[in-house]
């Protein structure tokens, strides 16, 4: 217990003193996950909206599949992306394995279904309300997608933040495709796993505290945005 207290104490010291190694890891984590969230949003939001408003054969199957993909285990995603990027894989020539780009790819694969599935639900509810009005104005089903995305922006942001929360906190995928190489692909979660096993509790705890804070900030943002959404949705 004494150990833990002193570790915690020195980990706060690390955070506050701006420990270079610590902040390099945090920044890399943020860079990887924010990039992944951006890419996943660019794919997932329109995809979700499309699934919400379109009526084609097989749509329901696609919806069920994407919902199922929300629960993809990160290690499986890591393994699949590894197989794609490894030297013998179809994308092996790109030499991306064990780079931050590989980690971004893995996280994009992991969270695009989350963002797409959540935004499909959000847009579908909004569309049920807007559909006839928008068609009356003369918009086609597909033409109404930009309007639905814009007017649903507050709720959609919560979907994006859910994706970010998942990306920043997962360890299984990035450790497989990133390899947890010091100064190159070592992010918060993989560092915590490694440093804990090495007994270097200060760094592990410092990173854990920052990760927790990030989770708190994301959750606070979600509920704050939720309030904004309720205000504009005021009927």
């Amino acid at each position: 217990m004494q150990d833990f207290a002193s570790s915690l104490h020195s980990s706060f010291g690390m955070i506050l003193s701006g420990d270079a190694q610590l902040w390099a890891i945090v920044l890399l984590s943020l860079r990887v996950s924010l990039t992944a969230v951006m890419i996943a949003s660019v794919i997932g939001l329109p995809l979700g909206a499309f699934l919400a408003v379109s009526r084609f054969r097989g749509r329901q199957i696609l919806v069920v599949m994407i919902n199922a993909l929300m629960g993809l285990p990160p290690v499986v995603v890591g393994l699949l992306v590894y197989l794609m990027l490894s030297n013998s894989g179809p994308l092996g020539v790109l030499q991306l394995l064990y780079t931050p780009t590989a980690m971004i790819i893995a996280q994009v694969v992991l969270i695009t279904p989350i963002i797409a599935a959540l935004s499909r639900q959000i847009i579908q509810v909004l569309d049920a309300e807007y559909d006839e009005q928008l068609r009356s104005i003369g918009l086609s089903r597909l033409g109404s997608i930009p309007v639905l995305l814009w007017d649903g922006r507050y709720n959609l942001l919560t979907a994006v933040l859910a994706g970010f929360g998942r990306a920043i906190a997962e360890v299984g995928a990035v450790i497989i495709v990133g390899g947890n190489i010091n100064h190159v692909t070592r992010v918060m979660t993989t560092s915590i796993a490694l440093e804990t096993s090495k007994g270097n509790l200060e760094l592990a705890l410092a990173l854990g505290v920052i990760l927790l804070l990030l989770a708190l900030i994301v959750n606070a943002a979600v509920s704050f945005i939720g309030q904004g959404a309720r205000q504009t949705a005021y009927a």
């Binding site: 009005q133 068609r135 009356s136 007017d151």
Partner: protein
């Protein structure tokens, strides 16, 4: 069975000028859901001129009829004929306001039809003035009161100067002065050449607006006749009951 029902339909001659150009024509329209004939109209012609007012009890199919005419739902059978170049607009029974400002709601419609920005600004202001909503222009549309929402929905529908305007009980739940404000806007649009096709339950409103009544009962048109004729001597027993009940309040 159905044929018998059809024969029973009361065909009175329309009071509208029979030579006035046709705005809309329903031919052999049937809307069937879950084996129920929700709308069943062998023929209905709507002509240019004074407002066409649709009356009938709750669940008669009035809102469905407006949706069919506006093209929002397709009939199970039959067709609705109208000039596709003609601009239409509709105000729903429960107005749908977008999650935008009051002005943004109107601007959106104009933008969707690629009206240039310079023109849009003036048009939005003119419409806001009509609705008496200038002070609320920047407010979120969904925080407006019920009556203000109705007024906004109405002027938004007028934004593109439609030739046909469908209104589904636009003054339900409004106070008398708000009702008169809306009626003034409707009359103004009518005078400007917009064909008004409107659902109402209010006989007083019907006689104030004038025009013809289409009386709908269980999805069928039982009467199409002038407002005063309809209100003073309805032909069908269903209409007699409807009006007797209505006038008791």
């Amino acid at each position: 069975m159905l044929e018998q029902v059809n024969k029973a339909v009361w065909q009175t001659s329309p009071i509208m000028d029979p030579k006035a150009p046709t705005v809309l024509e329903l031919c052999d329209i049937r809307l069937i859901r879950d084996e129920q004939h929700l709308v069943n109209i062998p023929n209905l012609t709507i002509r240019q001129g004074a407002p066409t007012l649709i009356m009938g009890p709750n669940g008669a199919g009035k809102s469905l009829l407006l949706r069919l005419m506006h093209g929002l739902i397709s009939p199970t059978q039959g067709r609705v004929d109208f000039d596709t170049d003609v601009q239409q607009a509709m105000v729903f029974q429960r107005p749908v306001l977008l999650r935008r400002s009051v002005a943004g709601n109107i601007d959106f419609v104009l933008k969707a039809h690629r009206i240039p920005r310079a023109v849009r600004k003036d048009r939005v202001n003119a419409l806001l003035r009509m609705a008496d909503l200038i002070p609320k222009a920047r407010q979120s549309a969904r925080t407006l009161s019920g009556g203000e929402q109705q007024r906004l929905a109405l002027v938004r529908a007028l934004a593109l100067k439609p030739k046909i305007l469908f209104l589904d009980e636009p003054t339900a739940s409004l106070d008398p002065s708000a009702t008169h404000a809306i009626e003034a806007l409707i009359r103004q649009a009518n005078d400007a050449g917009t064909k008004i096709i409107m659902v109402t339950h209010d006989p007083g409103q019907a006689s104030r607006l004038g025009g013809e009544i289409v009386f709908l009962h269980k999805g069928q048109v039982l009467e199409q006749t002038g407002v005063s004729d309809f209100l003073t001597e309805p032909k069908s027993t269903a209409a007699k009951h409807y009006l007797a009940g209505g006038l008791l309040f």
